[in-house]
């Protein structure tokens, strides 16, 4: 369970890195969609999170976390859409998604665009709990 303090620190990191109004960085805002973050923005966000919370996350960790170690051939189907197995896992790390609506439609490469500020805060919480520094 993500604490208010962790969520606040993550939101602050996003606000500072993107230079956007704090009101735009709602927990449900998608980082790469609504907030239009680029790869260098993500690096900046993650370094700020590391300084504020002492939790080190690399940019590449994000897609690993989202895919949950499921091999590509199981996560995606032919044509590049996310499989039922993949969607079931996504629901655990991105509980806001509507799997039924996304079934057979979500391209694997688009998954990361659904990642929200809250999802990042949850990831930070999971990493902190796992003692990853």
């Amino acid at each position: 369970m993500t604490s208010e303090a962790t969520l606040t620190a993550v939101r602050q990191s996003v606000v500072e890195a993107l230079g956007v109004p704090a009101d735009d960085v709602r927990p449900e805002a998608t980082i790469f969609g609504d907030l239009a973050a680029e790869s260098i923005d993500l690096l900046d966000i993650l370094f700020r999170v590391e300084r504020k919370l002492g939790v080190k996350i690399k940019a590449a960790d994000l897609s690993e976390y989202v895919q949950g170690g499921i091999p590509d051939e199981q996560f995606g189907e032919e044509g590049g859409t996310v499989s039922a197995v993949g969607l079931a896992h996504l629901k655990t790390v991105m509980p806001q998604i509507d799997e039924a609506a996304l079934a057979g439609k979500l391209q694997a490469e688009r998954v990361i665009t659904l990642f929200t500020v809250q999802n990042l805060a949850d990831m930070v919480t999971a990493r902190a709990g796992a003692g990853v520094r």
Partner: protein, 257 residues
């Protein structure tokens, strides 16, 4: 109290010349200094001894910065043994001068590997550490040869041109991470590297073309490095600052012959 108390600096190619002067000057301002060298261990040890004799902190670290693995190891060792890193001075450089008619086909590559490759590898090796701590300073030693042509120095000139261009691009990319990147554009400076230039005729053939009518001293280049390194919260980034006795400001030789 020095301007760089509590800071740790890494100077590549610091056993002699401009690198040595930078190591001594940074230490004099209170920085602990990692003195990198490739082959001149005794000279590097002498620099370390001189710093320690003056009450400073320093240690010598071998490593060929043209090798990315060696550059990373160098940075990690410096951080581990000196307790951090805040300033990187990319100084290591070589020359393989000669007329284009005579140079071996890979002469450019050898020079580029050290003079630009060293800057690239060491920069890459520090950026994560710098970004994680919220900032750092990189000072690259470039050359007036990056800006103006001279006979016989094409490979060196091209490598320093790369350093100057990289300085600007890296400064823009790294600014948001609190990392400033600047270059000191050294003119003809009294070091072993340019010994052959100044050996003949007491160097008059060179100094007559320089407004200040003398070659530079390594300490003068180092003083600018300290200035740039010390502006930790400064507003200077992406700059290439000449320390050249006015050479780059001159049209021709600055007067009718």
């Amino acid at each position: 109290m020095g301007r760089l108390d509590g800071r740790v600096a890494l100077v590549t190619g610091a056993s002699r010349g401009i690198g040595r002067a930078c190591a001594l000057a940074l230490a004099a301002e209170g920085a602990a200094v990692a003195v990198n060298y490739r082959s001149q261990a005794a000279s590097a040890d002498a620099v370390v001894a001189e710093i320690r004799a003056s009450g400073g902190a320093a240690a010598a670290f071998p490593g060929d910065v043209s090798d990315p693995v060696a550059a990373r190891t160098l940075v990690e060792r410096a951080i581990g043994e000196l307790g951090g890193l805040h300033i990187l001075v990319n100084n290591a450089g070589i020359t393989r001068d000669g007329l284009l008619f005579n140079l071996e086909p890979d002469a450019w590559l050898e020079v580029m590997r050290v003079n630009f490759g060293g800057v690239f590898h060491c920069t890459k090796a520090v950026v994560e550490h710098f970004a994680a701590q919220g900032g750092g300073v990189i000072v690259n030693i470039s050359s007036t040869h990056a800006e103006r042509g001279w006979t016989g120095v094409s490979t060196y000139a091209a490598s320093k041109g790369a350093v100057s261009a990289f300085t600007r691009a890296a400064a823009v990319e790294l600014a948001r991470f609190g990392i400033r990147v600047n270059a000191v554009v050294a003119g003809i400076t009294d070091t072993e590297m340019v010994g052959s230039l100044t050996a003949r005729d007491g160097g008059r053939g060179v100094t007559r073309q320089i407004p200040l009518k003398r070659t530079g001293r390594a300490e003068e280049v180092a003083a600018m490095v300290v200035l740039l390194a010390g502006l930790e919260n400064g507003y200077v980034t992406g700059a290439s600052i000449p320390v050249d006795g006015g050479a780059l400001s001159t049209l021709g030789v600055g007067q009718p012959l």
